[in-house]
């Protein structure tokens, strides 16, 4: 079990080990939904919430059920089922109790099931052998890091509409290169804190 403090993990997950810019997780929705700041904020919030909750649930399921039964190799299928079920549940609860929030988040919730950042956070948690509180800190930090990255990207892409990009690089290609520059900027945080 690693002994890094929860705060270090939290800060590192946002800046130095940003789940999107250094681990490349959640790229699909990152590219597809970073057109507008408002949309990306909505998606970012939803991701933070789902990520924290699913790391907690998956932690409990993995160490409470799978490990004692010796079923560790089933982690993939169990995790993805937990995530899908949780997203479905949240969608139903939100729809019932807060229609306003439902319409704000509505379309993003189902998208999150296939967001690899969510599954990735759970898998990293197991691989790095975090304790319970470390997992919560990591889930929260990774979610915030992802949200920060997508909002930044949305801002950049709004500015980019006014620039002249060679035709074959328009769209996804230039988005990838801009992300590369963003990742380089985030590398400036390296050395501040570090987790493996």
């Amino acid at each position: 079990m690693s002994e890094t403090s929860v705060w270090v993990i939290f800060i590192a997950a946002i800046f130095t080990n940003n789940i999107l810019l250094t681990n490349f997780l959640g790229m699909c929705s990152f590219i597809a939904c970073s057109g507008q700041i408002k949309t990306s904020l909505g998606l970012g919030t939803a991701v933070i919430f789902v990520m924290v909750m699913t790391t907690i649930i998956n932690y409990a399921v993995y160490y409470g059920v799978l490990v004692p039964l010796g079923l560790g190799h089933l982690q993939f299928i169990v995790f993805i089922a937990v995530i899908a079920a949780f997203v479905q549940l949240v969608e139903m609860i939100v729809e019932r109790f807060s229609p306003k929030l439902y319409f704000a988040l509505g379309i993003f919730l189902p998208l999150i099931t296939v967001n690899c950042a969510i599954l990735g956070a759970s898998l990293f948690m197991i691989i790095r052998e975090y304790s319970f509180f470390q997992s919560v800190g990591f889930g929260l930090g990774a979610g915030i890091g992802w949200a920060v990255a997508i909002v930044l990207m949305a801002g950049l892409r709004q500015k980019m509409r006014y620039s002249h990009v060679p035709q074959c690089f328009q769209g996804v290609a230039i988005a990838m290169i801009v992300t590369g520059v963003l990742a380089m900027a985030f590398m400036g945080f390296a050395g501040m804190v570090s987790i493996q």
């Binding site: 810019l21 490349f24 997780l25 993939f76 993805i80 296939v114 898998l123 074959c168």
Partner: protein, 221 residues
């Protein structure tokens, strides 16, 4: 832009997926290349391409999972109730991913360590899901297998190209061996192995693919 993810579901009317045998293969691997044209499944494409070896293993994993899941989804397509098809697809895909993961752990422990969580993340790779949903659900098993192989192959090739250049420029080596006439004078650029290099490499590859294919006739870029 935003409907890029949906290309799979809509390529039926355009006739991209309707071919048989060789045509299916060509469409999947080149004209409709999952990575460079449809821009699906980029997460793993970026993460594992820092070395050519990793890229090749990942490509093999994707071919295996794609062929296997397409085959099973296609065999079961008439028995799967429409409403639960997504869950069924995910379960089938996850099964193949677990198989591959266990295989790596048993025989190639170092490789399994290096790939880390990215083998598991094949489950959320949109390519596999996209093919099962868009192709295997409507087509007989054999053609579905060809389609799976083609898409996996197209993905693997692009992965290998990116992996080749990243390892060459980032470490000055290929498959861990020095390249004669190159490694002696070349100073490795660490940036290519780190995260930003991955983004630059993929961006450039997509740009070049677009250049070769020429402007999109439908202008939907």
């Amino acid at each position: 832009m935003a409907d890029n993810q949906m290309v799979c579901a809509t390529c039926q009317p355009k006739g991209l997926c309707g071919g048989k045998g060789l045509v299916t293969f060509k469409e999947g691997a080149w004209a409709n290349n999952p990575l460079a044209i449809q821009v699906l499944g980029i997460c793993s494409a970026l993460a594992v391409t820092n070395r050519l070896e990793n890229s090749l293993v990942m490509g093999a994993a994707l071919i295996f999972v794609c062929v296997g899941s397409n085959l099973i989804v296609s065999i079961l397509r008439k028995h799967t109730p429409h409403r639960i098809r997504m869950v069924a697809e995910v379960a089938i895909i996850a099964t193949f991913v677990i198989l591959f993961d266990q295989f790596l752990r048993a025989f190639y422990w170092d490789m399994s360590k290096q790939l880390g969580p990215y083998v598991g993340l094949i489950i959320t790779n949109c390519i596999v899901m996209g093919r099962a949903e868009a192709f295997a659900l409507q087509n007989p098993p054999i053609v579905s297998m060809v389609d799976g192989a083609a898409n996996g192959f197209g993905y693997a090739v692009v992965l290998a190209i990116i992996g080749f250049f990243r390892e060459l420029l980032g470490a000055g080596e290929i498959l861990g061996h020095a390249v004669p006439g190159f490694s002696s004078w070349y100073t490795p650029n660490q940036l290519m192995i780190l995260a930003p290099g991955a983004f630059f490499a993929l961006g450039i590859v997509i740009g070049i693919f677009n250049m070769i294919k020429g402007p999109d006739p439908e202008g939907n870029k």
